[in-house]
Each structure stands twice: as structure tokens, then as C-alpha cells.
């Protein structure tokens, strides 16, 4: 796999993962609110989940860059 194609492939996979993480965490936020967590905690929840999401994206991006085949 040549370097340019590899970069594109990794980028696309990270993009899909980012989308998934965004949707999942948003779903967690909405479910939390529906389970009775007061609306005023919405912002701290968003900040917390955004931090978790960012860490996950970084993890997956680095993970994929290391493992993605280069042959």
C-alpha cells in the first residue's frame, strides 16, 4: 500500500470512527437526560463526553496509524 493511499485510508477510518463516537456519546447524553439527570447538568455532561470522545479519537487515530498495513 503506497504511503498516500495509506494516509487516505487511515483518514477515512478515523473519520468514520469520529462520526460513530460523536453519535454514540450524544446518545449517551440524551439517554442520561431522559433518565432524570437535571437539564442544568447538560453542559458539564457535554464537556465530559467531549473530552472522552476526543481521547477516543486520538487513541483510534494513533492505533490505526501504527497498525495499518503499509505493504
Amino acid at each position: 500500500m503506497d504511503a498516500a493511499l495509506r494516509a487516505i485510508a487511515v483518514f477515512l477510518e478515523v473519520l468514520v470512527l469520529t462520526g460513530i463516537i460523536y453519535c454514540v456519546l450524544n446518545g449517551v447524553r440524551l439517554a442520561a437526560l431522559d433518565f432524570g439527570i437535571a437539564q442544568r447538568f447538560s453542559r458539564p455532561i457535554v464537556l465530559f463526553l467531549a473530552a472522552v470522545g476526543s481521547l477516543l479519537v486520538v487513541f483510534f487515530a494513533s492505533h490505526l496509524s501504527i497498525f495499518y498495513p503499509s505493504y
Binding site: M1, R6, A9, V16, L17, G19, I20, Y22, C23, V24, N26, G27, V28, L30, A31, D34, F35, G36, F60, H63, F67, Y68, P69
Partner: protein, 675 residues
């Protein structure tokens, strides 16, 4: 079978995490659904009781009809087919995946296993179908933006979420194919999309293949899928209609469409609804089941004429109020709350409704708007004595003179002078009671309809009579204006009168009287055979007794009365009558049949003042003018009066005539106008 054996080397690596995820998340999903369901149940149960359990077979039939065959939904092509694609695509994916998952315990190298091959193909086709339906939905919601749709952030989230779950499904399959040694032709047959993905995917060295990469590819697919399930089942998302809609359809009303539920005036703790708890559990379920699709709003004549009422908003406002009064967890109601009949739903909105039923006929999940509106009116009328001024005057006239036509000097027998019609107080030996109704008896224009109908019955040799001065209002205006007490008084008085004369069969020209006598009098022990004159005429024509001549060169549009059409499903008979007149050309109005636009006279509006720019009859008259007809035919005295006024307002009274069916029949019989 290469497709299967080729997957053998990695199938366990891929399936193991999926099975583990299923085992972990299924109980969580079930528990979350149970909690969410219990919460809803607790909310609905704050409402009053209502028996909705009878006739299970009919309930199941309709539920399946809407869910599987998309009854009602397909009446609008774009959103209907869009929903059809998403629903059936999802069904294919779910069934395909379940079968596929089943292959894990039973093994995949054990022919014949063709069913698994087809399940693989079915899932892929299903996913593509969902994506096509989803793209149609996105285009409609974000590009076409019909005004009836409102978009909340939760709605937007659904689209990328579903899309990504489907794409990651293809990714997993693509990866499995890329690492397989099976014959490529076989792959392309049973997994065409996954095969395509495999072509653009890199494969990993064996060391990594069974490791974390397999895991994360699987995990990013299954975990979001499960969380999506939880989100769908318990949150406010629009997609919770997956379970709420079938539930609501199952418990729909099986009463006759035009029938209102009576109040037990002696024992009811509250008359009508002034608080959210005064609604029944089913009325509260309605609020949750509304999908916010806006079809009701798009069909509501009041809304389309610029009035404050939007049936969709009414339902959503009540729902918001329910959740405001009973915040989670449902224990006791909030200590302070807004007044439902002034601050949540304004009085204006409550009185704007003509009870035309266009909203209910359009609603794909069978939400019942009219009962809620009438319940709120009942409370305003009976407990708060708050009415629009003009409604109050009509009710006072009903109370004191037995009819709502305040100011008329006519008597109930003026119209029949010299016609030789039997009056029951003088001769009760009749087969049929002609129930004239207040409007045909007392309003100048409509007296001609009574005359025409009587002449036809005489010509047909029907032995009929009328009640004359003994006739009082059937009670429809009182009931629809919320004065249930007055309605029940009138109703019981009439029933006694009918029974006193031994009446068995009643003919009437008014769809409102027809509906009330036929469906609402039995609630109080008054069971009679009630026939609308359009049914009678069609019947006489079918039997060959009534042979109509011709009316040359007349172009006619038939306007469906709401209480004849939507409330009683009488659409064909009036058309059959018109079609049997030769030389007459019948055309359909742009909105006709189930979608007919109300004339504006129902629900007591015949006697309520309306701002000139919001008059429904003017709107409907414009549609008649657009149709380019000579005559608008009706089978309802309210519609007739409304068109008379509308045509005058549009200065078209000289070029377009509003005529009742009976008047056209007389003209076809005699060659002369009916007067």
C-alpha cells in the same frame, strides 16, 4: 458454498466480540426499555380509565395494516414511500442479522445452509434500501423543508448514526472478505457491497488480524447499534414511534367515527378536561405517540385558513405540559402548573376547531384530536361558562326556542305550506319520519331543500311525515360546542317523542342530524334506522324507482360534507346520484373525498363569528371557482349556506350556483328548478 467456507478462518474472531457484546448489551437494552416503558405507563395511568380492549382481531388487523402495508402513510407519495423504504429496509437488515447470528451456534460448514447465504444478501439489500430511504428523508427535511416538519437536534442525530452503523457493517464484512481465500465470484454474489468494500480495504498481517483490529471494527459496529436501540426505545427520539405507534394504533377507537363519548353528568367528578389528568389514559398515550409528522396540520382547514389552531401543535403542547406536570421520576405532580385551558392551549385554539376530522383521517398513528378538543370545550362550557359571544347566543336560543337560529321569525312549518305533508301530531300512521332539521326548517335558502326532498319522497310514494312544531334541535350544535348537559336534555326529549310515535325509520337531509341521530342517540337508548337523503336517493336510483332525466351542459363539482364523508364514510352515494343525471358533467375538486376541505360550518361554527380573512367557506369557494364549474353540489344545509355566503363574498353568485342534491334531482325529474 465458498462464501461460507472461505469465512471459516476468521468467523470466530469476528463473531466472538459480537456475541460478547450481544450478551452484555441485550440485558441492558431490555432493562432500559423496561424502565422507559414503565415510566410511560406510569404517566399514561395518571389519566382516567377508558376501555379499549374489545375486538382484538380488528385491532391487530389495523395495526399490521399500517405497520406492514403502510395504510394511510402511502396516501402521500413522497413521505409514504420514503417511510416504506426505511421500514422494510430495516426489517430486512434485522431479519438478515438475526439469521446470520444464528449461524454462529449452529455452525456454518454444515450444508445445506443456503438460508444463511440469502440472509447475507438480504441484509445488504436492506441496508442499501435504508440508505436510499434515509437520503430521501434528509433531502425532504433539510432541502425541501416542508413547513409542517419541525427539526430538533435529536432528529438530526438519527441520520448520521444509522448511516454510520450501516457503513461500519459493510466495513466489517469487507474486512472479512479481504482476508478470505474464497472464490471472489461467490463473494460478489452473496455480499456485493461488502465485496466492493473489500476491494478498497487493506488487510492486516496475521499477527494483528485476530487482535485488537478485529475487535475494534466489530465494536464500533455493535456497540453503537445497541446504544442506538436503547436511545430509540427510551428517549424522546422520533424513532420511538417504532413501538409507540403500533401501541396507539392497536388501542385506537373502534366507536363510530362521528360519535362523541357521553359524560355521566350525575357521577363524573369533573365535566370535560381542565387538567391534564382529566384526559383518559388513551388520550395521554396519543400525546406520546404523535410522531410530529405534521400531516394533521397540513390537512386542518382552520390551520390552512390562518387560524391559531394547529392540531399538531395542540398535541405537542399538551405533551410538553404532561411532562412538565409529571417530571421524571413520576411520583407526584409538580406543585405549580400552568392552566391548561388558557396558558397551555388558548381558548382561541379550542374554539377554532370545526370538528371536521381531516386531522384524524390523515394521522398515520390514529391520534384522536377531536375528543380532546371537545373535552376542553366541555370544561369551558360547563364549569367555567366561557364561550365565544356568538356561540353563547346560539346556545341560549337552543335552550329557549329549541333551535340555534337566533333572530329567525320563521316557524318549523312555514316551508311546507300547501305541500300536503303529514304532521305526526295529526296523523302518525307513517313509515318514515322526515327529520327536517333546524336549518332546513328555519333558514330561507335551506327551506328549498326541505321542499325538494319532500317532493321527491311524495313522487316516490313514500309514506312519510314530519314532527312540525314538535321537532327540536337534535342537539349536535350543543354537543359540539361543549354543552353536553343541553345536548342530553334535547336528545332525551326527542327520543321520548320518537318512541311515543313508534318511529322506526328516520330520513334526514342534514349530515349533522344524521350523525347524531344514528350514532349518538343509541347512547341514550334511542335506536332507530337513520338514513341520509343521499343514501335514499342513491337507493331509489339503484332499485330503478327513481329515473332521472337530463340536465344539459351543466358542470358540477360535489363537495363532501365532513359529517357525511369523513365521519360516516358516505362518499359514493351522492356521486352516484349526480352520475345518474345525463348531460351533467361531474368533476372533482382539488381536495375531495377523505381530503375534502371543510366548509367551515361544523363544530358549532355555523353560529360563530369569524374574522373575514380567516373564513373557511371563502377558502373552499376559491377551490370551487378554480374548478371552473357551474354548480357546486352539496348534501348538507351548513355547506349550502356556507357556499351561498362564500360565492357572495367572491362576487360569483351569478355565475356559480350552490345546490343541494335534492334540488338537482327535482330539476332532473321535472326539467324545472326545484322551487
Amino acid at each position: 458454498m465458498d462464501f461460507w467456507t472461505g469465512q471459516l478462518s476468521y468467523i470466530h474472531d469476528v463473531f466472538k466480540p459480537i456475541i460478547i457484546a450481544v450478551l452484555i448489551f441485550s440485558p441492558i437494552l431490555l432493562a432500559a426499555f423496561a424502565v422507559g416503558f414503565y415510566r410511560r405507563l406510569a404517566l399514561w395511568r395518571v389519566g382516567r380509565s377508558d376501555s379499549r380492549s374489545g375486538n382484538v382481531l380488528a385491532r391487530v388487523r389495523t395495526t399490521l395494516g399500517v405497520a406492514l402495508a403502510h395504510l394511510r402513510l402511502l396516501s402521500e407519495a413522497y413521505p409514504g414511500w420514503m417511510h416504506f423504504l426505511i421500514f422494510w429496509g430495516a426489517a430486512m437488515v434485522i431479519v438478515g442479522k438475526l439469521i446470520r447470528l444464528f449461524s454462529y451456534p449452529v455452525g456454518i460448514d454444515n450444508p445445506p445452509q443456503e438460508v444463511f447465504l440469502y440472509s447475507s444478501l438480504m441484509s445488504e439489500i436492506g441496508a442499501v434500501v435504508i440508505i436510499i430511504g434515509g437520503l430521501l428523508a434528509v433531502y425532504r427535511r433539510y432541502v425541501l423543508k416542508p413547513s409542517r416538519l419541525d427539526t430538533k437536534p435529536d432528529d438530526t442525530l438519527i441520520f448520521p448514526w444509522v448511516f454510520l452503523i450501516l457503513v461500519t457493517g459493510f466495513l466489517i464484512k469487507g474486512y472479512r472478505i479481504a482476508t478470505s481465500d474464497a472464490d471472489p465470484t461467490d463473494w460478489a454474489t452473496w455480499s456485493p457491497i461488502g465485496y466492493g468494500f473489500s476491494k478498497i480495504m487493506a488487510t492486516f498481517a496475521t499477527d494483528y488480524r485476530d487482535q485488537i483490529l478485529v475487535w475494534h471494527r466489530v465494536v464500533i459496529h455493535t456497540v453503537p447499534a445497541f446504544l442506538f436501540g436503547i436511545y430509540v426505545f427510551i428517549t424522546r427520539s422520533r424513532i420511538q414511534h417504532l413501538w409507540l405507534s403500533p401501541l396507539n394504533i392497536f388501542f385506537r377507537s373502534l366507536r363510530p367515527k362521528g360519535e362523541l363519548v357521553p359524560i355521566d353528568l350525575e357521577n363524573a367528578e369533573v365535566w370535560g378536561a381542565s387538567k391534564i389528568e382529566d384526559f383518559t389514559w388513551k388520550q395521554l398515550l396519543d400525546l406520546d405517540a404523535c410522531t410530529r409528522c405534521g400531516r394533521c396540520e397540513d390537512n386542518c382547514p382552520a390551520n390552512l385558513s390562518g387560524k391559531a389552531l394547529s392540531p399538531k401543535k395542540l398535541v405537542q403542547d399538551l405533551r410538553e405540559h404532561l411532562y412538565e406536570v409529571y417530571p421524571y421520576p413520576v411520583k407526584k405532580p409538580a406543585e405549580t402548573r400552568r392552566d391548561m385551558l388558557s396558558e397551555v392551549i388558548t381558548e382561541q385554539v379550542i374554539w377554532d376547531c370545526t370538528t371536521c376530522r381531516a386531522c384524524q383521517e390523515a394521522c398515520p398513528v390514529y391520534v384522536e384530536h377531536i375528543d380532546k378538543i371537545i373535552d376542553m370545550r366541555r370544561n369551558l362550557a360547563l364549569e367555567r361558562a366561557e364561550f365565544p359571544e356568538s356561540a353563547q347566543q346560539a346556545l341560549m336560543s337552543l335552550q329557549s326556542r329549541g333551535h340555534p337560529w337566533r333572530g329567525t321569525t320563521a316557524t318549523r312549518t312555514d316551508w311546507m305550506a300547501d305541500l300536503g305533508i303529514k304532521v305526526l301530531s295529526e296523523d302518525s300512521n307513517v313509515d318514515v319520519l322526515y327529520w327536517v332539521g333546524c336549518t332546513a326548517a328555519l333558514e330561507d335558502r335551506n327551506m328549498k331543500v326541505a321542499i325538494a326532498t319532500a317532493k321527491i319522497m311524495q313522487a316516490m310514494g313514500i309514506n312519510f311525515g314530519i314532527l312540525g312544531v314538535e321537532e327540536t334541535c337534535c342537539g349536535d350544535p350543543a354537543r359540539r360546542m361543549g354543552d353536553e348537559y343541553l345536548f342530553q336534555t334535547l336528545c332525551q326529549k326527542n327520543i321520548e317523542l320518537f318512541k311515543g310515535y313508534g318511529i322506526k325509520k328516520i330520513v334526514t337531509t342534514c349530515p349533522h342530524c344524521f350523525n347524531t341521530l344514528k350514532h349518538e342517540y343509541p347512547q341514550f337508548g334511542g335506536k332507530f334506522e337513520v338514513v341520509h337523503h343521499s343514501e335514499l336517493l342513491a337507493d331509489l336510483i339503484r332499485q330503478g324507482k327513481l329515473r332521472l332525466g337530463s340536465i344539459q351542459g351543466m358542470k358540477v363539482a360535489y363537495h363532501d360534507s365532513c359529517y357525511l364523508g369523513r365521519h360516516n364514510d358516505i362518499y359514493q352515494q351522492p356521486r352516484q346520484v349526480l352520475d345518474s343525471i345525463s348531460g351533467l358533467t361531474r368533476v372533482e375538486l382539488a381536495r375531495s373525498g377523505k381530503r375534502a376541505f371543510c366548509c367551515g360550518g361544523g363544530g358549532g361554527h355555523m353560529w360563530m363569528e369569524e374574522p373575514a380573512e380567516q373564513r373557511l367557506n371563502v377558502r373552499r369557494t376559491e377551490q370551487v371557482i378554480e374548478a371552473g364549474v357551474d354548480v357546486v353540489a352539496t348534501a348538507c344545509p351548513f355547506c349550502l349556506s356556507m357556499f351561498e355566503d362564500g360565492l357572495k363574498a367572491k362576487e360569483k353568485e351569478d355565475s356559480i350556483a350552490a345546490l343541494d342534491l335534492s334540488e338537482l334531482v327535482v330539476r332532473a325529474l321535472t326539467g324545472q328548478p326545484s322551487e
